[in-house]
């Protein structure tokens, strides 16, 4: 089984628009939305939810004031300043480490597990989709990404599919690491701006750090052809495969507004470039 993860470093370069087109073009695959704290793929794939489950993440301390003697042991030991002088736990500051729970001399602190979000298995016009929604201001986004990936793999096995396509989050931190470690291939979608190039270098180093074969494409390449060339040079120098240039095309936004993937919506330049891009990515996945 192959796993293709699409990431970008910088946000807003067009990952999800490209992934939606891949969903339309690829056969026999499971789609997974690994951007759990700002998931957008469902807006285009219009999932019909078949299965829904709570995501249980970490725990949060809760002080029972009927038992608490206000001795101050918990406040002193908490490394996160999460307990106020009136012995109320700040849910946002609490990391769920359980140190206060363990050391409370009168066992006044409860430690319930949080429901941090939901995850879903859905059917779409392009086949199955595993997606999730992290609760607002919740932690453990990496854990939820891992769960979505695992479920997508299980589903692919059940259906006899050989491919999982994962729409990854921006950045290089915890959820990106969860979406990329162990993937067969990473596709970086970038844009020809200094920010795009800067962020590509960092996320490219991350993929290299995990030794994952990396493909690069430039979206809106004609915005700055010079930087597009610099990106292509950077790719070559660092053993990454340059697989496509997609021109700026207002049809991308129009397709999004219509709730369609670009390749369903348009036969224009950008749609054509995305088709060619998928052809190259598909060839690479066969290796």
């Amino acid at each position: 089984m192959k796993e293709l993860t699409i990431i970008s470093g910088k946000g807003g370069t067009g990952k999800t628009s490209i992934v939606a087109s891949f969903a339309a073009l690829a056969k026999d695959k499971v789609m997974a939305d690994g951007d759990v704290d700002a998931a957008d793929l469902h807006l285009i794939l219009a999932p019909d939810i078949k299965h829904e489950e709570d995501f249980k993440g970490g725990r949060t301390a809760r002080i029972n004031h009927d038992i608490c003697t206000e001795c101050g042991e918990c406040i002193e030991r908490c490394q996160f300043n999460a307990i106020a002088p009136d012995f109320v736990v700040n849910n946002i500051s609490c990391e769920g480490c359980g140190v206060c729970v363990y050391f409370c001399p009168v066992e006044a602190i409860e430690f319930p597990q949080n429901i941090c979000g939901k995850w879903y298995i859905s059917e779409t016009r392009f086949g199955p989709l595993v997606h999730a929604r992290l609760g607002i201001a919740e932690e453990n986004s990496g854990m939820l990404v891992t769960l979505v990936r695992n479920q997508a793999r299980i589903l692919a096995e059940e259906r006899g599919f050989d491919l999982v396509i994962i729409d990854g989050p921006p950045g290089i931190g915890c959820p990106v690491i969860a979406a990329t470690t162990g993937a067969s291939v990473v596709l970086i979608v970038t844009e020809p701006t200094l920010s795009g190039l800067h962020d590509l270098k960092r996320v490219g180093s991350l993929a290299a750090f995990f030794k994952i074969p990396t493909l690069i494409c430039v979206n809106k390449y004609d915005l700055n052809p010079d930087i597009t060339n610099q990106i292509e040079d950077h790719a070559k120098k660092h053993n990454m495969h340059f697989v496509g240039r997609i021109p700026y095309d207002r049809a991308v936004t129009h397709a999004m507004v219509a709730g369609k993937s670009l390749v369903e919506f348009s036969d224009g330049n950008a749609a054509q470039a995305v088709r060619e891009l998928w052809g190259r990515v598909e060839d690479f996945l066969k290796i």
Binding site: G11, G12, I92, G96, V99, E139, I172, L223
Partner: protein
């Protein structure tokens, strides 16, 4: 006053708004601090071009086990909620990348066999960009945990300054860490279905934090009218709209600020600040 700039969706123009606001305010002789809290992918330095005068490593405390003192009782593994320490037979394994620095294992060890050592999270850099005090964090490649580095960047905030925080995209812990304690948050969005979906999530996040906020709509003439309708419905002020202009996008691609291409925009960013100040009073 602390003003943070966030978005939910990436690439909507957070850094553009944050950097142009900072420059426009510095132009009026305001004391401005700029804090790039998008430590995974910091970009503001590409536009403000600060001269960096100080670089400091930021570390997290992780456990170190003295094998001679350890009797493999397993209490450390039991208290650790993050599976960052494990006892298997006569071996103690630590997984520093999973450690949250709660010191539970250090406190619980009956043999005092565990002490603190450090894992590098990244670096904090300080510099000057004209009259602006510039601070950003750069997360080490391969490091998963950004909130402690974001906290370190925010610890440099000075009173009697306008502190402008450029937040990371999304709505999870790094964003919450960046936004907490702000006096006002500007949510930057674009009028597309993705922009709206992620704006709604970001609005929920700032509401959880109890921070007053308003919206800036970037590329306001693309997409559809649903963001504006949503803002009206929710009674959220639209502070500024910027149309989609090739000239702005091209300048951005080269690291040139909007206010350099269109100096008249400085006044609009100054007005943006006045609107925020009035809402705060």
């Amino acid at each position: 006053m602390i003003i943070s700039i966030a978005s939910g969706k990436g690439g909507t123009g957070k850094t553009t708004i944050a950097t142009n606001l900072a420059v426009s305010l510095a132009d009026q002789k305001e004391k401005v601090q700029f804090l790039d809290c998008d430590v995974e992918e910091p970009n503001a330095h590409l536009f403000l071009k600060p001269e960096i005068y100080e670089t400091k490593k930021i570390n997290a405390l992780v456990p170190k086990v003295d094998k001679d003192k350890c009797d493999f009782c397993g209490k450390c593994a039991e208290i650790c909620q993050f599976s960052a320490i494990a006892v298997i037979g006569n071996t103690v394994l630590t997984f520093p990348e999973l450690c949250h620095s709660c010191k539970g294992c250090v406190m619980v060890c009956p043999k005092d066999a565990i002490t603190d050592t450090e894992r590098e999270l990244g670096v904090l850099e300080k510099g000057r960009a004209g009259d602006i005090e510039f601070i950003h964090g750069r997360l080490r490649i391969g490091e998963a945990m950004s909130p402690p580095l974001i906290k370190a960047v925010k610890e440099t905030i000075k009173p009697n300054h306008i502190a402008i925080i450029d937040a990371p995209p999304g709505t999870s812990c790094p964003v919450i860490t960046a936004l907490r304690g702000s006096d006002f948050t500007i949510l930057v969005t674009e009028p597309t279905p993705f922009g709206l979906n992620d704006l709604i999530l970001a609005v929920e996040a700032v509401r959880v934090l109890g921070i007053p906020f308003g919206i800036v709509i970037n590329r306001s003439d693309v997409g559809d009218s649903r963001v504006v309708e949503y803002a009206h419905q929710e009674g959220i002020p639209i502070l500024l709209e910027i149309t989609d202009q090739r000239k702005i996008a091209e300048a951005y691609s080269k690291g040139i600020m909007m206010t350099e291409v269109f100096p008249e925009w400085k006044e609009k960013f100054q007005q943006l600040y006045q609107q925020i100040k009035q809402r705060e009073l």
